[in-house]
């Protein structure tokens, strides 16, 4: 999943995929602002056919947290 996530994040946030790790913090390490995160959420929703409501997004600060969140939602 990490490889796919890196690909999506790198495209949406225009960052080099090699710099992305599970510990990357979207705001601090990947320089994403709230609107970038909305775009990312939409890309993830399209890719994994899940819905990520705004209140859940507030608790998803790192790449790893998003991966755990998606796994809890049944994404493999």
């Amino acid at each position: 999943m990490l490889e796919k996530m890196k690909e999506i994040i790198s495209e949406q946030l225009s960052v080099d995929a090699d710099t992305i790790t599970e510990n990357s913090n979207f705001k601090d390490d990947l320089a994403a602002d709230s609107l970038d995160l909305f775009e990312l959420v939409m890309a993830l929703e399209d890719e994994y056919s899940v819905e990520i409501p705004a209140e859940d997004l507030q608790n998803l600060l790192t790449v790893g947290e998003v991966m755990n969140y998606l796994k809890e939602k049944g994404v493999e």
């Binding site: 602002d33 709230s34 609107l35 909305f38 775009e39 959420v41 939409m42 705004a54 997004l57």
Partner: protein
């Protein structure tokens, strides 16, 4: 029968409010506002409101069209910020213009208002009931903004735009087709409550309402729904986005427009922008932008334009026009 736009006009209050001005009243900055919204300044009314702006825009549109007020037989104003609960903005404008032969009323569809008003006008023109119409998009959101809420107060401005239309039985020019939609199940994501329900039985005085927005929901809605609506409109018309010169898109946020462009696979060159100078003027953004394109000479006979809006309701709509 075709509905042809024969003149445009727009107006905004003279007072310019910059991002730096706002940084003095709420915790924000020019850099923050520019990078997240594309807004540099907006116009804010210092007194006169919706009717004043609507009438000024209407006068300019009539002059551009070479139409006299008494020739108008219908006025439809799109607004959610009328000066009065009644009379309607359209009736007030009728009075100011001296358009004694017209009927006037308002429609309410927030930021999609101008598209809804034009869609209604087009349907009425096609019945043959009316032949010369005035469509106005106007909003005075500065009075509905909570000026202590930094997440919303930086976004909006005041303004008005208008278009004069005429019924035409000849040629290809005019509104080719339109499509509007709404989803009331998402009504709560973007609201501005009217005066609260209080009376002598409740024993309390009514309170005014303010704009409240769930940013992520609105963003997702706009970025998904607008491309879907535009694609379906163009498919129905048997054409595609390649044939369209400009997508005249509601100016809510530069980044939303960019995302919509990305999804439609078009360059931002096709989406004229003026949000930097006006902010989001709700129902007025599309007619103001259309008027600017028209006055700058950027619209030539035969050009195909798509006008598209989205906003509270939730509502959305698009319209294919041959200039």
């Amino acid at each position: 029968m075709k509905t042809v736009i024969i003149g445009t006009g727009s107006f905004a209050p003279p007072r310019v409010v910059t991002n730096d001005d706002l940084a003095e009243i709420v915790d924000t900055s020019d850099e923050w506002i520019r990078t997240r919204t594309g807004i540099v300044q907006r116009r804010i009314s210092e007194g006169p409101g919706t009717t004043w702006m609507a009438a000024e825009a209407a006068k300019r549109a009539l002059e551009d069209a070479g139409v006299k007020p008494e020739e108008i037989d219908i006025i439809i104003a799109a607004t959610t910020t009328a000066d009065y609960c009644f009379p309607s903005t359209a009736c007030e404008v009728q009075g100011i213009l001296g358009a004694g032969n017209a009927v006037g009323y308002d429609v309410s569809a927030a930021c999609s208002g101008f598209i809804f008003a034009m869609h209604t006008m087009d349907a009425l023109i096609k019945t043959g009931t009316y032949s010369t119409g005035l469509v106005i998009g106007v909003d005075n959101l500065s009075k509905n903004v909570d000026w202590s809420d930094r997440s919303t107060c930086v976004l909006f401005g005041d303004g008005a735009g208008a278009a004069v239309v005429k019924a035409s039985e000849s040629g290809d020019r005019g509104l080719i087709c339109g499509k509007v939609g709404s989803d009331g199940s998402k009504a709560s994501v973007l609201t501005c409550q009217a005066r609260s329900m209080e009376n002598f039985l409740t024993g309390r005085k009514p309170e005014p309402g303010y704009i409240a927005m769930e940013g992520q929901e609105v963003f997702k809605f706009a970025v998904k729904k607008v491309p879907e609506c535009v694609d379906s409109l163009l498919r129905n018309a048997g054409t595609d986005i390649g044939a369209v010169k400009y997508l005249v898109l509601h100016q809510a946020n530069y980044r939303i427009c960019e995302s919509i462009a990305k999804r439609l696979k078009i360059s931002m060159d096709k989406i004229p922008m003026n949000i930097d100078r006006y902010g989001n003027t709700s129902g007025a953004t599309i007619p103001i932008l259309l008027d600017e394109l028209n006055q700058q000479g950027n619209l030539c006979r035969g050009d195909k334009l798509v006008l598209a809006g989205f906003g509270a309701g939730l509502t959305w709509g698009a319209m294919l026009v041959e200039w």
